[in-house]
């Protein structure tokens, strides 16, 4: 049984009990618990089912690396699948359900896959589902799709808010353990702006759990005073619950803050995505303990030794009364010693090393713990819970020597530095044979734009396992980072003195026992979440998948939501042994951001609902909306496709608008048309280059239709050009083309004809433009009065400045419909008033607004082209019979 102990638990507040629900059952926990700790305290060791074989699984780790304890959290608008119980803080009212089982966690039909495991080896899917061909689409895929996936997809709209925060600083320190704290302090002392992020709610990392002494006192004290000092400095930003998730080029990093996961519905945004721009990044990301590969190492109750220690020290939770520790290094002895001193039973420490360990082993023996050196575990007994382990010789093939009854197996295969962030931007690794780990190669860091490294690794993440080394390394990393970004030299560089037990060397153990039979190997799990075993990787190697990237994809090793945090190194080692090669020549798979899955919503930030996409609105937008507009997106704008009256269909509305405009009077909001002013002594010459026809010989007061081609000669835009005065032209572009054509003009002026005297301004948004179209067009405008619009003064393709109905305007006598038509430009802020005035005055002439579809019919009936309809980027003017608009004179 796993239970809450009467004392211990440095992170929980026993004065603040809380209740939560797991699979509908009410349970009790304490403030400060993780969900995994709360569940263990309620004897809920079984937390999920594996992906492929649906095997019962318990929690194995205590942090971000957890592969098994994945939960559905919350309900409806607050539902989230695949949340790690180990990184979820328990709060009052939390709702959790386990995943990937039917009908229940205890009894799962899918577990039959486990019985069929012999017939479902690696590559089974590739070999099986290829014949007959038609079966894939109609039978296999639908079935697999249905059974695949871990958590459920949310059905309701996310009820929470999310935000981005752009942060600028000189040094970003990732990781709030003692290394991160020291690095941040050293960098901050140099006066530069520092940001320190820690993914958990607590500072100090493992040091307080492992009993590290700093400056003569337990590490906790130094951690508290250091974080207090950093928090009070104006040049430092510290954020806990914030994971450094990804490092990108140019000193860009993403940090993922879980602001209110533990305090839902408190009005704060749930997640905040920090988009950090900095000059140097210190990764003090610590290390992850490796499991050991022995038979049935996935039975609930088999846990990482560090996790067993964490639950005990941090949450006062015992994973079981009797814990067998199995290890290849000294660190796991700490777990045995802590358990023993908490009054719990440790039947044995099984040390695979023939010689055993150092100082800590001596302490264990002194504490009366049985230590078996040169031994391993042949097999774990039990089904949904560990009941015993059988002892064997590590060097042998697994003959059982003795059975040791126990409830928990605390395993440790050594530690792997978290090199993910170092590697995101190309930092290189090297294999340290003595420590049996990949370590960052500090001579080959990720390179920034200046050709120098911009990431510095510190502490355990760099492979320094002893606390004194960690502090020294981290202090130096902080100083170096600050110095590289121009910080001043700090006067007081004395670093604190850290102490921990001396450790004997670890000995790599990639398979336990070393000569394990096929039967044992096919039950020795590497990747818990995706059900990849030692035998699967060996089979992949045998079938020719020699590249680590191929073997990964063939076996799915490391492809689950935990991205192989536990399985990676063991898998590589297994592959290298199967290929008779060494680990460094196998290499690692690629580490890509984010470090753990982050919410899609945090990436979207505010871009959802009303703010999903900006909608450009013309001055008359709301009028259209109030008058039945059926909207169509055009170049970021919304334009009315048609105005629906009463109960008519869209199609009926369009036809009504066409007939009314042809027979009476139509009004169109043409404000979205691009309008670009081109001015200067060389403007005419410039426009002759821009358009296929001549614009330099256009007379002031006149308009001309023009075509624009890309440098490949394909049509790219068209519109009416008006000459304003001797040096000034106004170019109309298509609605979607305004920004593009403005940029096109600027590009030519800035890069090719930089010596030409031409200025360009995009005035699209300054002007509202109203097209008054149809046989009655002149009548309504003359009724409003103010300027002479007769054919004599304002003939076709002419324009004039004047006044209509009291509005200063520019009137163009142009037509895109073949009807009598005027386009009136007024300052945008007066657009709506002008529009309303014309609509009112036009009532007696049968005025009706028309939309884009009517516009298309009107122009198509007259044979006018539309860029994007008759053109697709491969059409030249001659294809459309527009040779007349291609000037021959300019040759």
């Amino acid at each position: 049984m796993s239970v809450r102990l009467a004392n211990q638990g440095r992170l929980i507040d026993r004065m603040r009990p809380l209740s939560f629900s797991f699979n509908g059952q009410k349970m009790q926990g304490y403030h400060g618990d993780t969900l995994a700790a709360s569940l263990l305290a309620n004897d809920q060791m079984l937390m999920g089912r594996s992906f492929k074989y649906h095997r019962p699984r318990g929690v194995v780790a205590s942090g971000a690396e957890e592969p098994n304890a994945l939960m559905n959290l919350g309900s409806e608008g607050h539902f989230e699948p695949n949340a790690r119980a180990t990184t979820t803080e328990t709060f009052e009212g939390l709702l959790a359900t386990s995943q990937n089982h039917f009908p229940s966690l205890e009894f799962d039909i899918g577990a039959v896959n486990s019985k069929l495991a012999r017939f479902l080896p690696t590559g089974f899917y590739y070999k099986m589902f290829i014949h007959p061909r038609s079966f894939w689409k109609h039978i296999y895929e639908p079935i697999i799709r249905k059974s695949a996936g871990l958590g459920k997809a949310p059905k309701a709209r996310d009820a929470d808010k999310y935000e981005h925060y752009y942060h600028h600083c000189e040094v970003l320190v990732v990781g709030g353990g003692i290394a991160g704290l020291q690095a941040a302090e050293s960098a901050a002392a140099a006066g530069v702006r520092v940001m320190l992020v820690e993914q958990t709610a607590h500072w100090g990392g493992r040091a307080p759990v492992d009993g590290v002494i700093i400056d003569g006192a337990p590490a906790d004290e130094w951690i508290k005073s250091t974080i207090a000092k950093l928090s009070s400095m104006t040049n430092v930003v510290v954020r806990n619950r914030t994971q450094g998730s990804g490092i990108y080029d140019h000193g860009y990093a993403l940090a993922y803050e879980r602001v209110a996961d533990h305090t839902p519905r408190d009005q704060r945004p749930r997640h905040r995505l920090w988009r950090v721009r900095c000059k140097q990044i210190v990764t003090a990301t610590g290390a992850i303990e490796r499991p050991l590969s022995f038979a049935r190492n996935d039975i609930p109750g088999v846990m990482l030794a560090s996790a067993v220690r964490d639950y005990l020290v941090n949450y006062g939770v015992s994973a079981g009364d009797r814990t067998v520790v199995v290890t290849n290094n000294d660190d796991a002895y700490r777990t045995a010693l802590f358990l023993k001193s908490a009054g719990l039973d440790v039947p044995a420490i099984i040390d695979a090393r023939a010689e055993g360990g150092g100082e800590l082993m001596a302490q264990a023996i002194a504490a009366g713990i049985r230590v078996e050196t040169g031994r391993g575990i042949a097999k774990v007994k039990g089904g949904k819970r560990v009941t015993a382990v059988s002892l064997c010789a590590q060097v042998g093939e697994g003959s059982e020597i003795e059975e040791i009854p126990c409830d928990v197996v605390a395993m440790s295969g050594g530690w792997s530095p978290v090199v993910h962030l170092w590697s995101h931007c190309g930092g290189k690794l090297f294999w340290d044979d003595a420590k049996a780990m990949f370590r960052p190669d500090v001579n080959k860091p990720p390179i920034g734009s200046n050709g120098e490294g911009f990431v510095i690794v510190a502490g355990i993440a760099s492979g320094h396992l002893r606390s004194a080394e960690v502090i020294q390394d981290a202090g130096q990393a902080g100083l170096t980072a600050a110095e590289l970004v121009g910080g001043k030299k700090a006067k007081d560089t004395k670093l604190p003195d850290a102490q921990d037990a001396k450790e004997a060397a670890m000995e790599p153990v990639w398979l336990m026992p070393h000569g394990a039979s096929y039967k044992l190997r096919s039950k020795a799990w590497l990747d818990f979440q995706n059900d990849v075993k030692v035998s699967d990787v060996q089979l992949a190697a045998q079938e020719g998948f020699e590249s680590v990237e191929h073997a990964k994809r063939y076996t799915t090793l490391g492809m689950a939501t935990d991205q192989g945090k536990l399985s990676n190194i063991n898998g590589l080692a297994t592959l290298s042994e199967a290929l008779n090669s060494d680990i460094p020549s196998i290499g690692t798979t690629t580490f890509r951001p984010p470090y753990t899955p982050i919410s899609m919503a945090s990436l979207a930030g505010e871009a959802r609902g009303e703010l999903f996409q900006p909608v450009r609105k013309t001055p008359m937008h709301n009028w259209h909306d109030a008058h039945g507009a059926d909207w169509e997106p055009v170049g970021g704008w919304r334009r009315p496709y048609a105005y629906i009256q009463n109960s008519e269909t869209v199609d009926q509305a369009v036809h009504r608008e066409v007939i009314n405009t042809r027979e009476n009077l139509g009004i169109l909001d043409a404000s979205t048309l691009g309008k670009i002013i081109v001015k200067g002594p060389d403007a005419g010459k410039f426009l002759d280059m821009m358009y296929t026809n001549m614009m330099s010989n256009l007379k002031p007061g006149r308009c001309r239709y023009g075509l624009m081609c890309s440098e490949n000669g394909f049509l790219t835009d068209d519109g009416v050009v008006a000459r304003v005065d001797e040096q000034t032209w106004l170019c109309h572009t298509t609605s979607g083309g305004a920004d593009r054509i403005h940029t096109h003009m600027e590009e030519w002026l800035q890069t090719e004809w930089w010596d030409w005297k031409v200025w360009v301004v995009n005035v699209t948004e300054q002007l509202a433009q109203v097209a008054v179209v149809g046989p009655n067009a002149r009548k309504v405008l003359e009724k409003l009065g103010g300027m002479d619009l007769s054919t004599k003064t304002l003939p076709f393709m002419a324009w004039a400045d004047g006044e209509i109905g009291g509005f200063s305007c520019r009137a163009y006598r142009i037509s895109f419909s073949g009807e009598l038509s005027y386009e009136i430009a007024i300052p945008a802020n007066r657009g709506l008033d002008f529009w309303k005035m014309v609509v009112e005055a036009g009532a007696e002439f049968g005025i009706n607004p028309y939309g884009t579809e009517c516009l298309h019919i009107l122009r198509a009936e007259k044979g006018f082209i539309m860029i994007g309809d008759e053109t697709d980027g491969t059409v030249i003017p001659q294809d459309l019979g527009l040779s007349w608009a291609v000037s021959e004179k300019k040759r």
Binding site: Y165, Y166, E606, L611, V615, P681, E765, N829
Partner: protein
Amino acid sequence: MSDSQPEGYVGLHQLRGLSMLTLRANLSATKIKSGIKKATGLDFPKHGMHTSNGAKSLGWMSPDELLIIVDSDECVQTIENLNKALVGQHILLEDMSDARAMFRLSGKNIREVLAKLVPFDTSHSGFAVGSLVRTRFAQVAGAAFMTSNDTVELMCFRSVQDYVFGLLQERIATWFRGLSIAVSLKKN
């Protein structure tokens, strides 16, 4: 923290009655600079800055673009003065008053509100009083003028003013560092 806590407030107001003129010209030419100074009575702004006398301001937009902001009733006069002072020079002066919308954020926490919207450095060192940055507000282009330690003015295109207003509202109405930032809205 309650909403009534005054130091947490950030005010959001849309500004009306301003005229904006865009001047394209070679801003490194002495004649141009002195002409502008003469026509507006304001110091010529440095790169990335704006100068102001309260009612009027000059904003450095690019090496060849200047933004002139005046009260609406001074617009015609200002255009006249500029045309006079820069006569014979190769310039393009356009009235862009209707093309844009202006918002003012006020309060102690404006830098933090801004940091949720714009990718540039909004700290005192990165965005000092007097700065003018052309940037983006989430998905749309805009410019930000730091007018005093607790006011910033934001400019965007008129067509997306509803989007920017919604954006500002949402960003102001969230918490930061335990401070409940409430919004006092005024859109006229």
